[in-house]
Subunit: 365 residues, 2 copies
C-alpha cells in the first residue's frame, strides 16, 4: 500500500523522543459533538454506530476538526467497544445513555465461550483507516486506537458504563475469581493486538491504547489486572507500518498518575498519556532516563473558561513540562476528551497558544 | 461536660503517632445500608434525614456496627451536606438518587448572599454527638466530621451529585470566575470550622474532613481551590475537647494520592487518609519525617470476595505499610465507604484479621 508523503511529522517525531520546532498538539475527542458540523452529520447518519461503520462518514468526521484547527495529528473516528461487539456481545448506543451490551459476560460459561473475533468483522474499521489516511493526503499523521484489555473487560462484564466510575461488578469478579478475569483478559489482549496490527497494516501511523478505567483499580490490582495485559498486547504489535515507517505506541491511563513508574518499567511503548491530575514536571522527573514521551494534560473543563484564561492555562501546562529535549519530549493534549459544551473558537485559541508559546519556550536560553 | 473514661484509646494514640499494640481499625460508612438492623431503622424513620436529625436514631445507628464488630472507633452518623442545608439550600434525599439541593448556588448573587449559618440550626448534630458519646460509655472514641470546603462547593454549585464524578459545572465556575469561587470557599471554610468546633465542644474526640471530590480537580486547581480552604478550616480548630484531651484532625482526600506531599506541607492535621489507589509503602515514604499518621486503604470492593481473600488482602495492606513506629503510625480503614452489598460477616473477618495480623507484624523482628 502506498500513501501520499507526510508534510507534518512533528507529532511522530515527538512520539519517538526527537526534538521538534513546536510542541505538537491534538485533542482526545477532537472529532465530536462540540462541532456543529459533527452534530449535523450525526443527525443525518441516525446513530453513532451508523457513522462509525460507514467509511465515508467516518472519514469525513475524522477530518472535520483539521479543517478548523492546525492540529498536528488526526485520530480515527471509532469506539473502543468495536472489539467486544465483534466478539458477539451486541453493542448499541441508547440516546443520551452511553454504550450497552445485549449479552454481557458475567459468568464462567460466558467467559469460557469468548474468543478472539474474526478480524473480518472489523473490516469497516480498517477500511476507514485506509480511507482517512488517503483523505489526509499527508497533512498530518493518523492515529489508530483500541481500548486496553482491562477497560474493555469493564464494559463487557458490567454490560454498560458505571455510574460514578466505581465498576463494582467487574472489580468484584476480579477479587473473587481472579483466574476467570485473567482468562477474559487474555482473550482481550490478543484480540486488541490483532486489531491494532490490522489498523497498522491499513495505514495507521501511530497506535494508542486507552486504559480509561485502569484508574478505578486498587494499587496491586492495577499491576495484576491492567498492566500485564496491556503489556501482552504491546508485545505483539508490529513495529513498522504499511509504508515501512516506525509506528509509535501510546498508552493513556486515566487516573494512573500514581503508577507512571510501573508503566515505564513494564510497557513497551513510546508515549505515556496522563490525565489532568498529574503535574507534568513531576511526571517528567519520574520518567527521566526512560526515553518516554509524555502526552497531556490540560483539564478539558478549562476549555469552558474565556479564551484568555485558556491561553494562560495552556502556557502553565507547557511551562510545567519545561523545555523539551531529545529523549524527553512532550505532546500537548487534554487530560481527557473535549466536552460537548466547548465553544469551537476556544479550541482555536488553545491550538494557537500551544504552537506559539511552545516555540517561545524553545527560544529561551 | 464530663464523660465516662475511655477504655480503648488505640485509635487516638495512633492518630497522634504513638505506638499501639495493634493497628486500630474503623471503616468509612461502617454504619450503613449493608447492615440489616440499619435498613430496619431507616425504614421505620422514613428517610435518611429523619434518622440523621433524630438524636435517638442517630445514636442507635452509630452504635450498631460496634455491637457486631470490635472496631476501634465510632463515627457520628450524619451527612456532609448538613452545613449547606443550614445555609438555606434545602437539602433532600430522593429515593435511590442521592442528595439534591432545592436552591443551588449558581450565580454571583447567590454566592454573595451566602453566609456562615447560625450553628443553632445544626443543634441536632451537636446533640447527637453528646448523646452518642454518652451511649458509647467509653468503649471507643467518637469521630466527628464535616465535608471539606471544596467538596461542599461541588454539591452547592451542581445542586446534586455528578454523574461520573466530573463536576463540570463547579469546575467550570472555578476556571471562569475564580474570585467568585474563592468567596464561596471562604464562607464554607469558616462555616465548617465553627461546625467542627461545636462538635468538639459537644464531645467529639477526633474530627475528620472529607475532601471526597478533591480528586476531581486538576493539578494546580487542587492547590488553589481545595488545599488552602481545608487549611483555613484546620487553622481555626480547637486543639482540645470538652474533657481537656487533644482532638486529632484527619483529612481524607479521595483521589488525592498524587498530592500527599502538598497536603503534609500545608495542612495542620495529624492523619492523612488515602484511597485504594495508593501504595501505602510509597505513601509512608512520602510522609517520612512529617509525623503524620496514614489512614487507609483497602479496596471496599474486595469485601465482596470470599473471607479468605479478604483476609489475604488485609494482610497485604498491613504489610505494604510495614511495622508502625513512633511518628509513623497506621490506622486501618477502607479506601472508601463500605458498599451496600457487603455481607456483614465479611466485615467481621476483616476486623479480626487486622487485629491479629497487626499484632503478629509487631512481634516480627
Amino acid at each position: 500500500m502506498t500513501f501520499p508523503a507526510l508534510h507534518n511529522d512533528t507529532f511522530l517525531r515527538a512520539c519517538l523522543g526527537q526534538e521538534t520546532e513546536h510542541t505538537p498538539v491534538w485533542l482526545m475527542r477532537q472529532a465530536g459533538r462540540y462541532l456543529p458540523e459533527y452534530r449535523a452529520l450525526r443527525e443525518k447518519a441516525g446513530s453513532f454506530m451508523a457513522m462509525a461503520t460507514n467509511v465515508e462518514l467516518a472519514t469525513e468526521v475524522t477530518i472535520q476538526p483539521l479543517e478548523r484547527f492546525p492540529l498536528d495529528a488526526a485520530i480515527l473516528f471509532s469506539d473502543i467497544l468495536t472489539v467486544p461487539d465483534a466478539m458477539g456481545l451486541g453493542l448499541s448506543f441508547a440516546a443520551g445513555e452511553g454504550p450497552r451490551f445485549a449479552r454481557p459476560v458475567q459468568d464462567e460459561a460466558a467467559i469460557a465461550a469468548l474468543a478472539v473475533p474474526d478480524m473480518d468483522k472489523l473490516r469497516y474499521v480498517f477500511d476507514a483507516v485506509t480511507s482517512i489516511r488517503r483523505a489526509l493526503n499527508g497533512r498530518v499523521p493518523l492515529i489508530g486506537f483500541a481500548g486496553s484489555p482491562w477497560t474493555l473487560a469493564c464494559y463487557m462484564v458490567e454490560g454498560h458504563g458505571s455510574k460514578g466510575g466505581a465498576w463494582e461488578k467487574v472489580r468484584a469478579l476480579a477479587w473473587s475469581r481472579p483466574e476467570l478475569m485473567e482468562r477474559l483478559l487474555t482473550v482481550n489482549a490478543d484480540a486488541v493486538a490483532q486489531y491494532l496490527n490490522a489498523q497498522i497494516d491499513a495505514g495507521a501511523q501511530a497506535v494508542m491504547l486507552f486504559d480509561s478505567w485502569g484508574g478505578a483499580l486498587a494499587d496491586g490490582a492495577f499491576q495484576r489486572f491492567s498492566l500485564p495485559w496491556t503489556a501482552r498486547t504491546l508485545a505483539q504489535l508490529k513495529r513498522t507500518g504499511a509504508d515501512g515507517q516506525t509506528v509509535p505506541r501510546i498508552v493513556f491511563t486515566r487516573g494512573g498518575g500514581l503508577w507512571l513508574r510501573d508503566m515505564a518499567e513494564r510497557l513497551q511503548c513510546d508515549v505515556l498519556g496522563v490525565d489532568w491530575r498529574v503535574n507534568l514536571g513531576t511526571a517528567r522527573a519520574t520518567l527521566q532516563g526512560s526515553g518516554r514521551t509524555l502526552q497531556g494534560n490540560m483539564d478539558p473543563v478549562a476549555l469552558l473558561a474565556p479564551p484568555e484564561a485558556i491561553r494562560a492555562e495552556a502556557r502553565r501546562v507547557l511551562d510545567s513540562f519545561g523545555r523539551p529535549q531529545a529523549g524527553s519530549a512532550h505532546i500537548f493534549n487534554l487530560g481527557h476528551g473535549v466536552l460537548q459544551p466547548t465553544p469551537p473558537e476556544h479550541i482555536a485559541a488553545l491550538v494557537d497558544e500551544v504552537h506559539s508559546h511552545s516555540r517561545a519556550l524553545r527560544r529561551q536560553a
